[in-house]
């Protein structure tokens, strides 16, 4: 490690140590465990700035925050998986002895033979650790992928196929009373005839051209190709709107983090 890097790291450590002292002094008389509170706020600010430092380039502070985050989260999910799924849900339904051992409430009425199926599949999955019998774990994987693919087939047919088809059944002429009436009552009200008809036409043409774009077994040439071009334009306009909407949400997350740094850490009421 370069000398300048070490000096920089030492300066940062000193800076945050001072921050801890000042923060703890600020919490004195307000919080019971003011030293701990000062440490927690300072640590949160340090980790926030460490992650944000990645915007400049990869650096030791980012690496530290990254490894801490990954390590803690991996351990947390491992722990949650064991204590909530196996101890919290499985043992109380299968074994009184195991429930007593782990000090969880045994539920005798909930015993069901089928609970052994995931247990067996889970054990088969762990056979991967064996060099000779690792192939057995493929049975569990086949069960997971095959079963859920079959279940999803029905779900998607219902939600993405039939329900979407029926959603396109919209009248192209809304409240039609002749061309004269249409022009005489023309306005841009959201519930007006013109906007309602325009919306339905956009749905109709958008769906048709969008589907044509997703035809894979026919070359996109001629009229078919032109409809496909319209389809991709409609998709891109939709993505543009979605992009702007989501970026607004992300900005609010950034504002939340900056508010934490300025208000909770530095104590500036901006």
């Amino acid at each position: 490690m370069k000398r300048t890097t070490l000096i920089l790291m030492a300066l940062v450590v000193i800076f945050f140590a001072l921050s801890w002292i000042f923060k703890a002094m600020a919490f004195k008389g307000v919080e019971e465990h003011y030293i701990l509170q000062g440490f927690l706020v300072t640590l949160a600010a340090f980790l926030t700035l460490s992650i944000m430092s990645f915007l400049y380039k990869d650096n030791p502070f980012y690496k530290f925050a990254e490894h801490l985050f990954v390590g803690i989260s991996a351990a947390f999910w491992m722990s949650m998986g064991f204590w909530s799924t196996i101890v919290g849900n499985l043992f109380p339904r299968l074994s009184e002895g195991m429930s007593n051992f782990f000090k969880v409430h045994y539920i005798p009425g909930d015993y069901n033979f089928f609970f052994y199926v995931p247990v067996i599949l889970g054990i088969l999955l762990l056979m991967r650790l064996s060099r000779n019998y690792g192939w057995i774990s493929r049975w569990s994987l086949a069960f997971i992928v095959g079963t859920t693919a079959g279940l999803n087939f029905i779900r998607y047919l219902r939600s993405d196929f039939i329900n979407q088809v029926s959603s396109t059944f919209v009248p192209l002429l809304v409240d039609w009373q002749g061309i004269g009436h249409f022009f005489s009552s023309l306005n841009l009200s959201a519930s007006g005839q013109f906007i309602m008809m325009l919306a339905n036409w956009v749905i109709f043409l958008g769906v048709m051209c969008g589907i044509i774009y997703f035809f894979f077994s026919k070359e996109h040439t001629g009229l078919f190709g032109r409809a496909s071009r319209v389809g991709i334009w409609i998709l891109m306009i939709t993505f543009g709107a979605s992009f702007g909407y989501t970026v607004m949400g992300r900005i609010s997350l950034l504002v939340g983090r900056i508010t934490f740094l300025f208000r909770d850490w530095l104590g500036l009421n901006i």
Binding site: F54, L141, V170, P171, K218, T246
Partner: protein
């Protein structure tokens, strides 16, 4: 003066308390003097259709004194018994103005709300006033039984869709197996995969393959496994390095099997290493932090993002762009597609991801399925046009065919 004030206050308080007492008595007497409301009529109870049983529906004509007449009905209380002679148990209530109660039982026999199937049950509905003592019971309806249904008739359209789509798929799979050439139009993103692997080999840098945050049961993840298989095979042939960091442990297990098989198919089983495909963590942003670190430290020549992605899509793709990698993405998560389109060199949009797996795999099963999907899309176009005509002319008989009940 002070004594006069105290005496006056005491007199006032006594008088006020007396008045309040009179007022309360008056109110009580009003409650006691409410006339019993007229009973409900036309009570019918029937089994809930298209369910697993243990549920009955009650319907009735409200009391004439509900929001009309004497206007004294506050609510309806529902009573159930296994005998017409009782005892009847109160199982629920609905406010006045209602004329239906769904008596949905639960499956555990020990539970209070359990409704036995194939058992005679009797129901009664009481019209209750503000004074719960003053009520009028309906005539007893029964016997009625709940029972389970083998078939959900509200989902007939789904059955037909499954049969038609399944039939099309089986037909085209058999056609493809007989050796018929099924055309699939080239996709720019997929053509770029081969070039990207070649680029990585020339540069001597690794290929980073991200399977997304989906679980192994998601269609996009399954499609991604097929693409990974093809990429891994080519990587094995070119002797390039492959990095596959995983978010989900099951996905990692499947991905290891996929990559291992591809190396075997390519004739380089010895080049496979379990550490190519590794687990990071099941926390979204911790995973992203780790993958970003890999991108900046390993500087992969190519990043391939295929599968299910959420809020991390832009962070990953932006970091990849900063690292100077060629990026190819594909997802069916509509909300994330804009970010990939902005930050990646090639993007497979939605169903193109599934088509890509068929295009690369060239297996009859997948090609046949792709062809069947195209026919299904043609059917959607025809049905939509017919539906729009029906909607314009108010032909509800046609549009109702596509209504699927829960």
């Amino acid at each position: 003066m002070r004594y006069i004030f105290v005496i006056f206050s005491l007199v006032f308080l006594t008088f006020s308390a007396g008045l309040a007492q009179v007022d309360t008595l008056g109110a009580d007497s009003t409650l006691l003097n409410i006339a019993p409301p007229a009973p409900i009529s036309n009570l019918t109870v029937y089994d809930k259709a298209n369910d697993h049983g243990h549920a009955l529906i009650l319907e009735w004509k409200p009391s004439p004194d509900d929001a009309a007449g004497k206007n004294t009905v506050m609510m309806y209380e529902i009573y159930r018994s296994e005998s017409p002679d009782g005892p009847f148990e109160n199982i629920g209530s609905v406010p006045s103005g209602n004329s239906r109660y769904d008596n949905i039982g639960i499956l555990e026999k020990e539970a209070r709300d359990y409704i036995p199937d194939n058992t005679d049950l009797y129901y009664r509905v009481d019209a209750v006033t503000i004074n719960p003592e003053i009520r009028t019971s309906s005539e007893i309806f029964g016997p009625v039984r709940s029972y389970s249904n083998w078939f959900h008739r509200g989902r007939v359209p789904v059955l037909f869709a499954v049969l038609i789509f399944g039939g099309l798929m089986m037909y085209f799979v058999s056609v493809a197996r007989k050796g018929a050439e099924l055309y699939v139009r080239p996709l720019a993103g997929i053509a770029a995969v081969d070039d990207a692997i070649g680029r990585a080999t020339e540069m001597g840098r690794p290929i980073l393959y991200i399977l997304g945050l989906g679980t192994a049961d998601m269609i996009s993840t399954i499609a991604s496994f097929t693409i990974l298989s093809r990429v891994a095979k080519q990587v094995a042939e070119y002797q390039t390095q492959l990095i596959v960091p995983c978010y989900d442990p099951i996905v990692m297990t499947v991905a290891q099997e996929v990559v291992k098989s591809s190396y075997l198919d390519a004739g380089h089983p010895d080049a496979y290493n379990d550490d190519m495909v590794f687990y990071i963590t099941t926390n979204q942003f911790a995973y992203v932090a780790a993958v970003n670190g890999i991108m900046m430290r390993e500087l992969p020549a190519t990043n391939v993002y295929m599968g299910k992605f959420y809020a991390e899509s832009l962070i990953l793709a932006e970091t990849g762009a900063v690292a100077g990698s060629i990026q190819i993405a594909g997802t069916d998560e509509v909300g994330q597609l804009p970010f990939f389109i902005v930050a990646c060199d090639y993007t497979l949009i939605g169903e193109e991801l599934y088509a890509a797996s068929a295009y690369l795999g060239r297996e009859p099963l997948m090609l046949g399925s792709l062809k069947a999907q195209d026919y299904a899309k043609a059917a959607v176009i025809i049905l939509s046009i017919l539906g729009i005509i029906a909607a314009n002319f108010g032909w509800t008989a046609f549009t109702n065919i596509f209504k699927v009940l829960d």
